[in-house]
Symmetry: C2
Subunit: 451 residues, 2 copies
């Protein structure tokens, strides 16, 4: 079995091609390890004595003690020799950042790397990639400086990406949205290790609850399906190349065979992979799976203090293959007691514009106990004068019981964002549009139904 | 013709039902006018001598001089009497905030208001509404305090909303996104003036370039269609009640007849109204119409420094009914000169990961002059070390010529957001996902095709 710990939790790392040139690939990576990594890190470069205040070694074989991972960022033609030196040093894991292989027609050189990786080792992530990031161990081989690209906080969502650009942009973007991440892999040309290897490993990773993947094509669909089935975790895939034009753009980008989209669709369905249509949707889905239990059925109760939002949510619930739950008689009785005479007990349950937190508490308690309700879509328009910030606590309490899933919907400016952040941080996934909230409930029910 | 200037640019305003009670409806509205309005404003309330430091009048007839607009926030049963006093004072315009009319079964009282409005006047916006906001004159009858709800900056997008809650949430939300707004109307029960009246007026309004509307149903489809055709401006409608369940939720919310959705679809199509599916989409469309010229055709050139984003954009372009433009021979020649050997001249035009601003300039110049290109989708992944912030200038220069539309796509954290804001503020609508950028180009081409 591949020693993935050498990639994500190494005791010592050598950066081969470390550099003193500000913002160069070899400088940014070395800087990452010096600044953030708690293990040992060694710069390797035959043309320097010292790099960023550290003694520099001519080759990896000169580095004292054992090395768990090599990060390789030397020109393509030198990579085989460097790999052989890593083998001599018994390094188990290498991330090869270098590009200039099969993606520019240099197939032979890449095949040589595959051969070395699979015979003597080290096993390889790359070539032509960003490598790995682990929020817990602070392994960070990304050559994009933190001044231009933020890193995400700790969390339970893993992300693997064939494309380095998509990977880095997504990392930066989810960092700015406050989504937590466990591990990230950009695997580029998949010269040795491939999508299914990472999915298999992440399926076993205790810090990962949801796996997201951006791919343009896979080299082995059967292995991918087998790994996905084995993982027993939600796997969300964004696969580019849905149209004929997109497919041909893929082949000129990574040289992957994107293949007929319908084949992928069928394979994803069979192996319980959830398909996302864009980056935002992928992480909308990831957030709900990372925070809420799957729904046991399709019956959703909409609770709102704005009628219009209730209507938009109703349309969205139906359009996403869900159903409107019906209050049972016990719930009706309890709700009638707290609602004004002109507010009927319905679904959407419109607590009307002057609703306070207490009305929400009653509606949420009813939804928790009512056997007709499988999930809750809770709209809280914080702008109204009557709604106290206490409502946040009631929603969090519902979520904490983990009996039925709840997703929140609110939109607005600073005051609303502050309240949304309190909910999100406490485990209630928040969405700005009713249709986004309904969409995630849809996949939650679909996934729950398959279990 | 209705004197809409009395609503949006009055010289003097009376707030009937002004109050001293902090954060009450009558206090927030009075406060808005005192703090922000440059014309005269008078509190009217028989039970107070002074409100917020201003002399308070017993009735509107006691107010000295003429009054252009009355904002009415007294209990429902007193509204007819107050309306008669407004008529006596020859007030041309009234915003009636008060609820408790047909929406709670009180039809007769509401019909009385309609009768007064249409015989003696004043003409009425409301009842059961938030009223009006004008970013230029600072008329602001919204009873939600600014501590809970921001107001948008000046701009050329108007928004009318049947639902007060949707209206206020949207205002707060677009303020936080930095979208500029000309005028806002929340018209509630449409007791007198209705959607078509506002669309007709906004069609003539020099400060409004795009009209957005949230509706649950209209009282007169033919008048709405006539007003829309006459407006000769992009009109974007978000109509709730697309499903049967949504339609029945509408009837219990506003009592509107949502009607068969297909009928609305056909009517919108005939009158050149663009239909949005959710709030975010409505303002995604509004931003592009407010900033860019319509496209003369469907041929889009994708320019990118990230291959994966180029593939996602390709799929999205095709899925939105557009086509990939093909570079002509002159463009090919110019591009080959600046591109590295391994980067083919294609669409998507992948300037590859080490692209600098100069490469973008050449690609943008080619797209501007190339007769095969109708519009540009420009992806700028700012995280790469080689891309200088100067690229922003080149994109802005393209946009400023207003010859062909350009929309931008970028995603990330703070560094990227800062650059996106520079572009957005200079007139380049920016989107985080390639599929959003493609979607707005789709409506731009569709609208351009109908012209």
């Amino acid at each position: 079995m591949t020693d993935f710990n050498a990639f994500f939790d190494p005791r010592s790392v050598a950066v081969i091609g470390a550099s003193r040139k500000k913002d160069s690939i070899g400088e940014v990576i070395m800087h990452n390890f010096i600044q953030h990594f708690r293990g040992k890190s060694y710069p390797v470069n035959p043309n320097a004595k010292q790099i960023l205040g550290k003694k520099c070694y001519r080759t990896i074989t000169d580095v004292p003690g054992s090395v768990d991972m090599a990060v390789i960022a030397v020109p393509a033609k030198f990579v085989p020799q460097v790999m052989r030196e890593c083998a001599q040093k018994r390094v188990p894991a290498a991330v090869i950042i270098t590009s200039g292989f099969s993606e520019v027609g240099n197939h032979e050189l890449e095949e040589e790397i595959t051969r070395i990786a699979r015979t003597t080792g080290p096993r390889v992530i790359g070539v032509n990639c960003l490598g790995v990031f682990d929020s817990k161990t602070d392994v960070d081989t990304l050559f994009l400086p933190r001044s231009k690209m933020d890193r995400p906080k700790r969390g339970n969502v893993a992300f693997i990406s064939q494309s380095g650009a998509v990977g880095s942009i997504v990392l930066d973007w989810i960092a700015s949205r406050g989504i937590g991440m466990s591990k990230f892999v950009s695997y580029g040309n998949a010269t040795d290790l491939n999508d299914y290897d990472f999915i298999e490993f992440l399926g076993r990773d205790a810090n990962t609850k949801v796996i997201c993947s951006y791919m343009e094509g896979t080299k082995d669909g059967r292995k991918l399906m087998a790994a996905a089935k084995k993982a027993k975790k939600p796997i969300i895939v964004l696969k580019a190349g849905r149209t004929n034009e997109g497919t041909s753009a893929v082949s000129s980008h990574t040289g992957s065979l994107a293949g007929a989209d319908a084949v992928y669709d069928a394979a994803f369905h069979q192996s319980n992979i959830i398909r996302a249509n864009d980056i935002e949707e992928m992480f909308d889905f990831a957030r709900v799976f990372s925070k809420q239990p799957p729904a046991r059925g399709k019956k959703v109760m909409i609770i709102t203090n704005g009628g219009g939002f209730g209507v938009l949510a109703t349309d969205a619930i139906i359009q996403n293959g869900l159903e409107l739950a019906k209050w049972d008689s016990k719930s009706r009785k309890a709700l009638k007691k707290v609602l004004p005479w002109y507010a009927p007990v319905h679904n959407p349950m419109d607590l009307v514009g002057d609703a306070n937190a207490a009305r929400y508490k009653v509606a949420l308690d009813c939804a928790m106990d009512d056997p007709n309700v499988d999930a809750v879509l809770c709209i809280t328009l914080f702008q109204t004068t009557s709604l106290e910030p206490d409502v946040v606590k009631h929603v969090i309490n519902f979520s904490k019981r983990r009996k039925k899933p709840i997703v929140g919907c609110a939109a607005g400016g600073k005051y609303t964002h502050d309240n949304m952040k309190r909910l999100e941080d406490a485990g209630v996934p928040m969405y700005e549009a009713p249709h986004e909230a309904a969409k995630v409930l849809g996949v939650l029910a679909k996934y729950g139904g398959r279990l």
